[in-house]
């Protein structure tokens, strides 16, 4: 029952925000904060109580959900409201709720227009995302997948910035919408294809994830269906040729939008790959693994190079995200337990550090009224503790040991090395590139000759607390990541097993005609 509340609370909270605006500007803020905190508390409660280990002696094929909730929806078509939770989804839901709280907090002073509707959108993004992480009925999943888009679109289009160079906020919002919508459509086709293939094989019409996992598919069909899913998730991650929407969306979005985008929305792409693409199509995934890892490499290098050339601080950070997601892609397709655990950690770490950087650029924007790096420089002595925080998060994003980012990145590299040594060797060059763009960002903003002597407003309590909290998480989990590893671990052991099953027949002698 708790699962449906995770979705209903932000949904109802959003409506309450909208209606509550008439009683004052502050009301929607507090309602939104309260609902986000409630979701966070419920998830943490589930974490505290739940047991995310594999049940001993369970059948190898059964997917052991820690919690399930199910209600009929359209029984004639085999569609149900079916939610389920395992360690992976729990970690990501908790992450979303936490970033949701931060998104509310960081817009406390930034948003002045249509406050109620703004928070409705903020909360409904959470509805969509939590739904995506929990849905195990593919139709429901698709519904939530599409639902994430609309509030995000409004967030960018209505509260975004229009920059003199490049896109307007409407343009950026449209671009975001079209990219995701078009790829989502491909996924819908693939879902339907899978469902019909399943009916053709078993005579049963169902959208249930667990049932569809057992669908026997011929190699070619599996490949096409897999590509449909893959493209949708690749756009969201984003993988390099499909990344065009991200820098524009980030640059034009308000701070809360960027926090949600970087911290939550990108994670749905990785989640989709982990939850659907690999388990539903292990053979086909294995077949494109070298290609996907290659794309990951391209992303690491391309994102890093592009980042160095940006003038807009938010576009800069957006491109570094692309670079980081390259590591995620490599880790996912390496498919070893170590690499996949690293993927989960890097997802969380990236959410923390990148959101913090976006929050910081929002705070810089509030003080300097610019996002242009060319107009910054020498700010170290003028901003109180803000530069110190920025230094910490930049250092985290370059993967300094002691931060969670390091653990994630290195587990991916350690785990992928036995599978793809050359890929990892080249990806290690990404460590150098990360150093280049990270330090470049730091020195363009805070070092060098200052442009004035006047001190700017120091951080207030709310801003300080947000940053300190994130920093504590990045460092604390960086030195003791075991809680995350233990929670997501069992879910992550499944994929290597599936990959091994695929690898097995090819390594032993296969009778002719069978392969």
């Amino acid at each position: 029952m708790a699962l449906i509340w995770l979705i209903l609370i932000p949904f109802l909270g959003g409506l309450a925000c909208w209606l509550g605006e008439r009683w004052g500007e502050g009301v929607p803020r507090w309602i939104a904060l309260g609902s986000m905190l409630l979701v966070l508390l419920i998830t943490l409660g589930l974490w505290w109580q739940g047991d995310y280990q594999w049940p001993a002696g369970a059948e190898a094929d059964a997917v052991p959900w820690a919690l399930e909730w199910r209600a009929p929806w359209i029984p004639r078509l085999g569609i149900a409201v079916h939610l389920a939770l395992d360690g992976l989804s729990l970690v990501l839901v908790a992450l979303s709720a936490l970033l949701g709280v931060l998104a509310v907090l960081c817009s406390w002073h930034e948003i002045r227009r249509r406050v109620g509707f703004f928070h409705l959108n903020l909360l409904w993004i959470l509805v969509g995302v939590v739904g995506v992480f929990l849905a195990v009925d593919l139709f429901l999943f698709f519904a939530f997948w599409e639902m994430m888009l609309v509030p995000m679109y409004f967030l960018i289009a209505l509260w975004g910035h229009s920059s003199a160079t490049g896109f307007s906020r409407i343009g950026a919002a449209t671009k975001f919408f079209l990219y995701t919508q078009a790829s989502g459509l491909l996924m819908l086709v693939a879902i339907l294809g899978l469902v019909f293939a399943h009916r053709a094989a078993t005579g049963e019409l169902t959208f249930s994830y667990m049932a569809l996992r057992e669908t026997p598919l011929s190699g070619e069909v599996a490949m096409w269906l897999m590509l449909g899913f893959f493209l949708a998730f690749a756009v969201k991650l984003p993988v390099v040729p499909f990344h065009g929407w991200l820098p524009d969306a980030h640059a034009q979005a308000p701070t809360a939008g960027s926090v949600d985008l970087a911290g939550i929305l990108l994670k749905t792409g990785a989640y989709g790959l982990l939850r659907f693409v690999l388990p539903l199509f292990p053979e086909a995934s294995q077949a494109i693994a070298p290609l996907a890892m290659g794309l990951g490499l391209v992303g690491i290098v391309y994102g890093a190079l592009l980042a160095c050339g940006q003038q807009d601080i938010k576009r800069f950070i957006a491109y570094t995200s692309i670079s980081h997601m390259g590591f995620v892609l490599i880790g996912i397709y390496a498919g070893t337990e170590l690499a996949l655990q690293g993927v989960v950690l890097l997802l969380v770490a990236h959410a923390f550090s990148t959101s913090a950087l976006f929050i910081l650029s929002g705070q810089l924007h509030e003080r300097l009224h610019t996002r242009n790096l060319g107009e910054m420089g020498g700010l170290w002595g003028r901003l109180g503790s803000l530069p110190g925080f920025m230094l910490c998060f930049i250092v985290a994003s370059l993967g300094m040991p002691g931060t969670l980012n390091f653990v994630g990145e290195f587990l991916i590299l350690f785990g992928s090395f036995p599978v793809a040594p050359w890929t990892v060797a080249i990806a290690s060059a990404g460590l150098v590139l990360a150093a280049i763009y990270s330090l470049l960002l730091m020195q363009r903003v805070h070092y060098g000759p200052p442009r004035g002597e006047a001190r700017l407003a120091a951080l207030d309590g709310r801003e300080y607390a947000m940053l300190l909290g994130l920093l504590a998480l990045v460092l604390g989990l960086g030195l003791y990541p075991q809680p995350l590893l233990d929670t997501a671990g069992p879910a992550m052991q499944e994929i290597p097993r599936l990959f091994d099953e695929v690898a097995m027949p090819s390594s032993t002698a296969v009778p002719p005609g069978e392969s």
Binding site: V240, P241, F242, H243, G244, P247, Y302, L305, L306, C308, G309, Q310, E337, L338, Q341, G378, W380, G381, G388, L391, V395, M400, P401, G402, F406, V407, F410, L411, L413, F414, F417, P418, P421, V424, A425, S428, A429, L431, V432, A435, I436, L439, L440, Q443, H446, Y447, G448, P449, P450, L479, Y480, P481, Q482, L485, G489
Partner: protein, 617 residues
């Protein structure tokens, strides 16, 4: 006793945290107090540990907690105390304390004292973790941590763009080495299934025969990391620029401790390197080359700190040479004595620089020996140790140990390089001392020099002076059992070699004194024109490595960045949008609202349809 081990890094770390959160309230004096006392307490803890260890020398491990546990991947936050880590720990906290204390004098009245001490304390904590880590991942944590602190401290005076650039360069060049080290770690874990150092050294000979390509590759990758951190060819270019930081930083990080981390790494993993004779030879060859190349470059520098920087590279070259001939003990011994005398030289240089109102150009100094007696004494003692003046200095004994190991291992070419290096060392040391303290003062700053006063200025200098003499050489690092025993060469030859090395050093000193005291005008003429000028320029610019890297790496990278700035792939994605926009424009022009246009197009359309129908029929 082992329980006090974590204090050696926790105390400096606590110092950093206090300074980070309450630094503004503490003020400059308070910050210096916190910064110095945290390291003093760490040094005290080290002294207690050393006392206990020397009474019963037995390696101990203390596991604080398991860092990560996934399958076989089980690195811990575990500390290991043995002779090697204890030696390094003593250098880091002992010399570190003296330098922190001296910095209280040096940084007095400067801006950012709190920040300075916060980073310095963080550096000490990271460096301690680097040497105490019992597994390679924790070592890597310290390794990256010291690199970060080095970056932050080189860029301490962040308002000058050149300092920021120097800091960036230092981080980047060492990070290139770190990437190799990281790949080395991946390889070692894949092959041996562990990152625990003791376990690694046990499994390596079981997995690999000597000379196996796998172990050669692993050793090569580790060496890459060591070269970057220790500023050896070809990754040495950052160290000379790193002198942009405050002088105590140069003393601590870029002379005594961090730059010798590469030597520590190779010595710690000696078991892997001994299995890879090819890479071991390469280590020695790189060391020999660096010691000669940097020695020449040191002869042609005009900034006193850059002379010392090249000298540091050259001396670390000696350590790598020692590693290359499997003289691990000699390398660590030289690491220790070098920490003493090079820290002394840097602090004395800092004393000169502050006394002369931030003048550090050799051509603008001179004649200071009367005005700055303590700094002069420091330079004399430190310089003598650097030039390995026989019998009375610490440097003589450690350098002799290295040459003896090269001889014992039968590496004649490396021995020759070492002897030649001694000559160069003596020459540039004399040039430096004569340039600062003799002749005529070249600037107002030097003429108005005021000697430093106070305990914070005097005591560290005097302590390091004592350590740089033969007293320092009496400290025998307790390395037996941790590192392979030194080789014993042919009996009787050791004394002959000592005499030879001593004479070379004396010859160099005499030659230098003659050249720089009595033949200055002649020298100046030589380097002003013709071949001499070309050689001067080549050495002055450190053999042109910077220019080469600028052309080969930096500029292409910049070109790539500016070429890609517009995101060509995204532009490709915009094509369909552009096409749709164009179609939209073209079609909406047909809806112009002009009746005549509609009528004509209707007639044309109807005609066309009719024609088609007729043709079809």
């Amino acid at each position: 006793m082992i329980a006090t081990l974590p204090l050696t890094f926790l105390l400096p770390l606590a110092g950093t945290l206090i300074l980070a959160f309450f630094g503004a309230r503490l003020g400059a004096r308070g910050s210096a107090g916190v910064g110095v006392s945290s390291v003093a307490l760490a040094a005290l803890a080290t002294a207690l540990l050393a006392h206990a260890y020397l009474a019963a020398p037995e390696a101990q491990t203390l596991t604080l907690w398991r860092w990560i546990a996934v399958g076989d991947f089980q690195p811990t936050i575990g500390l290991r105390l043995d002779g090697l880590s204890l030696t390094l720990l003593g250098v880091i906290t002992g010399v570190g304390l003296l330098i922190h204390w001296f910095a209280a004098w040096y940084m007095h009245g400067e801006e950012g004292v709190t920040r300075f001490y916060a980073y310095m304390n963080l550096f000490v904590a990271s460096m301690v973790l680097l040497v105490l880590g019992d597994n390679l991942l924790l070592l890597f944590l310290g390794w990256e941590g010291v690199g970060l602190c080095s970056y932050l401290l080189i860029g301490h005076y962040y308002r000058t763009a050149a300092n920021v650039r120097a800091a960036f360069k230092a981080f980047l060049v060492t990070r290139i080495g770190d990437a190799f080290l990281a790949i080395g770690l991946f390889l070692l874990f894949r092959e041996l299934g562990t990152l625990d150092i003791a376990e690694l050294l046990r499994r390596a000979p079981e997995r690999w025969a000597a000379g196996d390509p796998g172990v050669e590759l692993a050793a090569l990758l580790l060496l890459g990391g060591a070269l970057g951190k220790s500023a050896q060819l070809p990754l040495h270019t950052w160290l000379a620029d790193a002198m942009a930081g405050p002088t105590p930083v140069s003393a601590l990080i870029h002379a005594a401790t961090m730059v010798t981390a590469g030597v520590y790494l190779v010595a710690r993993l000696h078991g892997v390197f001994l299995l890879a004779p090819g890479v071991l030879w390469l280590t020695g060859a790189i060391g020999a080359l660096t010691l000669l190349a940097a020695g020449c470059a040191a002869l042609a520098q005009t900034d006193i700190k850059r002379v010392l920087a090249y000298s540091t590279m050259s001396q670390i070259g000696y350590m790598f040479l020692a590693l290359g001939v499997a003289g691990f003990e000699a390398a660590i011994f030289h690491l220790m004595t070098h920490a003493f005398f090079k820290a002394l030289l840097f602090l004395a240089a800092g004393s000169v620089i502050v006394s002369c109102h931030h003048e550090q150009d050799l051509r603008r100094l001179g004649g200071l020996w009367r005005r700055l007696p303590l700094a002069y004494a420091g330079f004399l003692v430190g310089g003598a140790a650097l030039a390995a003046l026989p019998l009375v200095t610490a440097g003589f004994y450690s350098k002799d140990a290295i040459l003896w190991q090269a001889f014992a291992a039968g590496h004649g070419e490396l021995l020759l390089a070492g002897l030649l290096g001694s000559l160069l060392t003596a020459l540039y040391t004399l040039r430096l001392i004569v340039g600062i303290f003799h002749g005529a003062a070249g600037s107002d700053g030097a003429r108005r020099a005021e000697s430093g006063k106070g305990l914070a200025h005097g005591l560290p200098l005097v302590s390091l002076m004592l350590l740089s003499t033969v007293l320092g050489a009496w400290i025998e690092p307790p390395l037996a059992g941790v590192l392979p025993a030194p080789q014993h060469g042919p009996a009787g030859w050791h004394l002959a070699l000592e005499v030879l090395a001593g004479s070379v050093a004396l010859l160099g000193i005499a030659l230098g004194a003659w050249l720089f005291l009595y033949r200055r005008a002649w020298l100046a003429e030589r380097v002003a024109q013709g071949r001499g000028a070309r050689l001067w320029r080549l050495w002055h610019h450190g053999w042109g490595f910077d220019a080469a890297y600028e052309g080969l790496l930096v500029r292409p990278y910049r070109g790539l960045v500016s070429g890609l700035r517009g995101d060509a792939i995204d532009a490709l994605g915009q094509r369909p949008a552009r096409l749709a926009g164009w179609l939209h424009g073209a079609l909406s022009r047909t809806q112009g609202g002009k009746l005549r246009f509609y009528a004509v197009s209707m007639v044309i359309g109807a005609t066309l349809i009719l024609l088609v129908m007729v043709a079809a029929a």
